[in-house]
């Protein structure tokens, strides 16, 4: 399964067929600090992903203040 990570933008391949929580754990990312996007929709860490899915993991943390 392809996962797009941001800042800097890159793509990684990880196994699908499991809960998003497990994917995030493998990537070392806390679910509270990212949006997980599949097909243009937000999904939660409890949702499952298939091998054929494409995910974007988008950090929400920003520095410096607006």
């Amino acid at each position: 399964m392809k996962v797009t990570l941001r800042n800097p933008d890159r793509e990684v391949d990880v196994p699908g067929g499991r809960a998003i929580r497990e994917v995030l754990d493998e990537l070392g990312v806390s679910a509270d600090t990212v949006l997980v996007i599949r097909d243009g929709e937000l999904v939660t860490r409890h949702d499952h992903v298939a091998e054929s899915d494409q995910l974007e993991v988008r950090p929400v943390i920003s520095g410096g203040g607006p």
Partner: protein
């Protein structure tokens, strides 16, 4: 996972509320929190003209979006910092948001108006890049609001921003700053009122809201952010939050409810117009004019050369409304 409020499917889980929401209910909850903040701190009065400081990021665009929807008379101000592609993209995103909403946007370019950009100021100045950037933003926003006849400046500071600032100030016991940290700073002579209507909402919530509203915002981080103190404090807070959800909100909102009063003290700052630009300050020249003169290698007025203050004083405080930046020196 089901929505807490309706039978719909949840798209976002908020662990600090031990709840999850569907798209529609989440947007409602978000707007309720903004209304609550505005009401509780009497942020915007009837007929007030509001200027929202927009950066092209998720927070400020989400804020502008909500304030427009709530029917406020709100225009946007974008400040071009001259940070290469990052600034170009930020301006494009902001301009296209304004156009899509039929909203009024003013663009000020730092280099054009004031003769320097942020990368240059970071290299030449005595302050950290983020400190001089924050100082420039606050100065320009206030000036634009005064010149444009606005009653209120709204900024997109969220709960994570505020909690990180409070943590930074507490770690160093900067009691003057702790006392003044507020979601609503009243107007003073020459200073327009400043409000932070998103202070009850986490960064995760503002990002989710912006995404769900279809707002195209800049996801990329500012390339100059490395070493930003506030970012490190955010990461520390997030580490605590991960093991005990709700700590961040308890820390900052608890401070507003129960802590702030303990730090209250007589505010004996007296403001006089800056000898260079006329904006209020406690010093002869305001912090902005001093920093700018230093970056441009100019002298201020006829007097002795400008003495620029200790770099760390401001460097550690870059993301916040800083009295020392606005008013000059903090009261002793």
């Amino acid at each position: 996972m089901k929505c807490r409020r309706c039978p719909g499917t949840a798209v976002i889980e908020l662990r600090r509320h031990n709840a999850a929401f569907c798209k529609r209910c989440f947007s409602e909850v978000f707007v309720e929190q903004v209304r609550k903040a505005i009401r509780r701190f009497a942020m915007i009065g009837a007929g007030d003209r509001v200027l929202v400081a927009v950066s092209g990021g998720k927070d400020s665009l989400a804020l502008w979006d909500v304030l427009l929807d709530l029917g406020y008379d709100v225009d946007g101000l974008y400040l071009g910092l001259g940070i290469g592609e990052y600034s170009d993209r930020s301006r494009e995103v902001t301009a296209s948001f304004a156009e899509s909403r039929g909203a009024q946007l003013t663009v000020v370019d730092l280099a054009e108006e004031y003769g320097y950009d942020i990368p240059t100021a970071g290299r030449k100045g005595a302050r950290s890049t983020c400190a001089v950037c924050g100082l420039s933003k606050r100065y320009v926003f206030n000036k634009a609001a005064v010149d444009g006849g606005y009653d209120v400046i709204a900024t997109g500071h969220n709960l994570d921003d505020e909690a990180a600032t409070l943590l930074g100030n507490t770690l160093r016991w900067k009691t003057e700053y702790i006392a003044r940290q507020s979601p609503s700073l009243a107007a003073e002579t020459g200073m327009v009122k400043k409000v932070k209507p998103l202070h009850r909402l986490s960064e995760l919530e503002t990002a989710a809201f912006a995404f769900l509203r279809g707002i195209d915002y800049v996801v990329d981080e500012c390339p100059l952010v490395a070493g930003n103190t506030q970012l490190r404090h955010k990461e520390a807070m997030n580490a605590i939050e991960a093991s005990s959800p709700g700590t961040k909100a308890e820390f900052f909102l608890g401070y507003l409810d129960r802590g702030k009063a303990l730090f209250a003290r007589e505010d004996d700052v007296e403001l006089t117009p800056c000898g260079e630009c006329g904006q209020p300050t406690t010093a002869r020249y305001c912090a902005f004019c001093r920093a700018r003169a230093q970056v441009l290698g100019e002298r201020l007025g006829e007097g002795p050369p400008v003495v620029v203050e200790d770099r760390d004083v401001v460097a550690s405080m870059s993301g916040e409304v800083m009295p020392i930046e606005i008013y000059g020196r903090a009261p002793a």
